[in-house]
């Protein structure tokens, strides 16, 4: 199998999907290669879900410029793509004089970067904003916000698909061969792809892919962070994200962040990942999070624990000094037809669209692009029963009785939503695919009630044998076959 494209994007995370979506404004044949079974299963989906304001990064850096730009436009983006988003603001809290000095430093830097509304506030004002926050004083950053990183990545990808982009899932990039005509032949798990342009947005693997595409020398340090997810009952105490004063190396320790859905995230810590799949929770890190999380959030109680997860930030470091470097976004003469993005970590979620526009601009600098007349920037997500008023629910059920049937009792997800998720535009057919599109199984019973219903629906809707149902990644089978009456694997 060999297919020809104008642009192939390697990596379907939030940045790759944003680039695909921005490219689809132009008349191009575009493919996205994603090695996992869904978009947003790696770095893009494993983070705090924070829309950063941009006060942390060195003035003039790509991180600072893209974060500020991405932050300021996000109300419109969220509306256009139907992504849950709240501009909550954020408290960066301090306990000591040294903390105060650092907060003053970042306030000055933020103002230089163009972040609006920063102010230093005392405990009294903190109590008005968020009484559960720890700390004696704080920097208040009203521009910060929270979003659902799954929903955002999926929205970008679905909008890209709507505008003609093709996604290939479970399709790892294996290698590139430059053809005599200057085009690229990409070897993948699902056959060969011929393309004029390649975009490297491979996240954790961006240095490796960069080298394969002819730009060696980058070094990625995978930094793992673990989290606790707390019950929505804890969410009543957390309206605003609370961060500690940044460390001298511009990193944050454990913070407490509400999610758009009302849970609370405690984390991340910071440790060197063993490898690119090191998403295991560890006892040492959990113990550390319980201790450090309690300083940021006064309700870090065991009865609120519902889930743990971990993410890995692909930090680009100077090979000589080990210091963390800015995002790379480049084209190089020695690697024609390659748009290279390396080391896109935090604030990558906030910066995805600004980076994507700049990536498209690099292509337009080399060739003229023709607008795609059918491009539609809007995308609607699955309408959530839990967000509807009783009147809207009545109407939804009258139009579609499946909206009256609750599949997930904790998150009140209906059969109608589950079925829409099963028939998603990307063709993701896993239990986790349904989870990240609907929130089913994300509540306090963790699928105890709804998982059996979801697997049954996947089987029926897609005509699958139960042995073919997978939880998430390729090979994550759930059933060996029937208990009785044949069908044994």
């Amino acid at each position: 199998m060999q297919q020809s494209y104008d642009v192939v994007v390697i990596g379907g995370g939030v940045v790759g999907s944003a680039i695909a979506r921005e490219l689809s404004r132009w008349r191009l044949r575009i493919a996205v290669l994603e090695k996992e079974s869904d978009v947003c299963t790696q770095t893009s989906g494993r983070n705090t879900g924070m829309l950063h304001a941009g006060f942390l990064y060195k003035t003039g850096s790509l991180k600072a410029i893209c974060a500020v730009e991405g932050n300021q436009e996000f109300d419109a983006v969220a509306q256009e793509l139907d992504v849950p988003f709240k501009r909550t603001g954020k408290l960066i809290v301090g306990f000591t004089d040294e903390h105060r000095q650092r907060l003053e430093h970042f306030m000055a830097r933020g103002e230089a970067n163009g972040v609006k509304g920063l102010e230093l506030i005392d405990r009294k004002r903190m109590d008005e904003l968020e009484p559960s926050a720890g700390g004696n004083f704080a920097m208040w950053c009203p521009a910060s916000g929270i979003l659902d990183p799954f929903a955002y990545t999926i929205a970008l990808a679905e909008n890209a698909v709507r505008n003609g982009v093709e996604y290939f899932l479970n399709c790892a990039f294996l290698g590139e061969e430059r053809q005599p005509d200057g085009t690229h032949l990409l070897r993948t798990e699902k056959g060969d792809f011929r393309t004029r342009w390649v975009v490297n947005s491979a996240g954790l693997h961006s240095a490796e892919v960069s080298a394969r595409l002819g730009i060696p020398g980058y070094v990625i340090k995978p930094v793992k962070g673990e989290y606790f997810v707390l019950d929505k009952l804890a969410g009543q105490f957390a309206r605003i994200p609370v961060y500690p004063a940044p460390n001298p190396d511009n990193t944050f320790d454990t913070h407490a962040t509400p999610t758009v859905d009302g849970n609370v995230l405690i984390g991340p810590d910071s440790q060197l990942a063993r490898d690119d799949q090191d998403y295991e929770s560890t006892q040492a890190a959990m113990d550390g999070l319980i201790e450090s999380g309690s300083r940021m959030f006064q309700h870090m109680e065991k009865s609120y624990f519902i889930r743990n997860f971990a993410g890995i930030r692909p930090k680009r470091v100077d090979p000589a000094t080990g210091t963390v470097q800015d995002f790379v976004l480049e084209t190089r003469d020695e690697a024609p037809g390659v748009v290279n993005l390396v080391g896109i970590e935090s604030p990558g979620l906030t910066s995805a669209l600004p980076l994507a526009r700049r990536a498209v601009a690099l292509i337009r600098a080399k060739e003229e692009l023709v607008p795609n007349p059918g491009f539609d920037p809007r995308r609607k997500g699955i309408r959530r029963f839990i967000d509807m008023s009783d009147g809207e629910r009545e109407a939804a059920i009258a139009a579609n009785p499946d909206y009256g049937e609750i599949f997930c009792r904790c998150e009140q997800v209906t059969k109608a939503e589950i079925l829409q998720a099963i028939h998603n535009p990307l063709g993701v057919h896993t239990v986790n695919g349904v989870k990240v599109r609907t929130r089913a199984t994300m509540g306090r019973c963790q699928g105890g009630y709804c998982e059996t219903r979801i697997t049954e629906a996947l089987q029926q809707e897609l005509g699958l044998d139960c042995r073919d149902i997978e939880l998430g990644p390729a090979g994550s089978w759930m059933f060996t076959g029937s208990v009785k009456g044949g069908g044994e694997a």
Binding site: S482, V483, K484, G485
Partner: protein
């Protein structure tokens, strides 16, 4: 020789001790009801159990219907009985008490349906 048993007749789970010389059952202590003594006597000479499983049912609203034995069978025959039950397939409707396999494996117990599955 004395042996100690946890009675399984009821949820009390009495701990019962019995004297046993390999042929004759002696003194039994610890049972809070006569059923416990009977259980231990049986357990020493011929341990028996009931089992519950399911069989596929066609034409009903459920893929499976639950079944159980209506009286205990020798413990050593459990997997032989499972094999016999695994060969059964039913057609809805079925109802509680219906005999699926009479005198299963010649052991004197019937496999009976424990759930109503009407025709879908």
């Amino acid at each position: 020789m004395t042996r100690t048993f946890t009675c399984i007749v009821c949820p009390n789970g009495c701990e019962i001790t019995a004297e046993y010389d390999g042929a004759r059952v002696g003194a039994i202590t610890g049972a809070t009801c006569p059923k416990g003594e009977d259980y231990v006597r049986q357990e020493l000479t011929d341990p028996r159990r009931t089992i519950a499983t399911s069989v596929p049912v066609d034409g009903g609203g459920l893929p499976l219907v639950s079944v159980r034995l209506n009286r205990p069978i020798p413990k050593k025959d459990i997997f032989r009985v499972m094999e016999a039950v695994n060969a059964v397939r039913l057609q809805a409707p079925v109802s509680i008490g219906q005999v699926v396999l009479a005198d299963v494996c010649g052991l004197g117990a019937d496999v009976i349906v424990t759930k109503n599955v009407p025709r879908a």
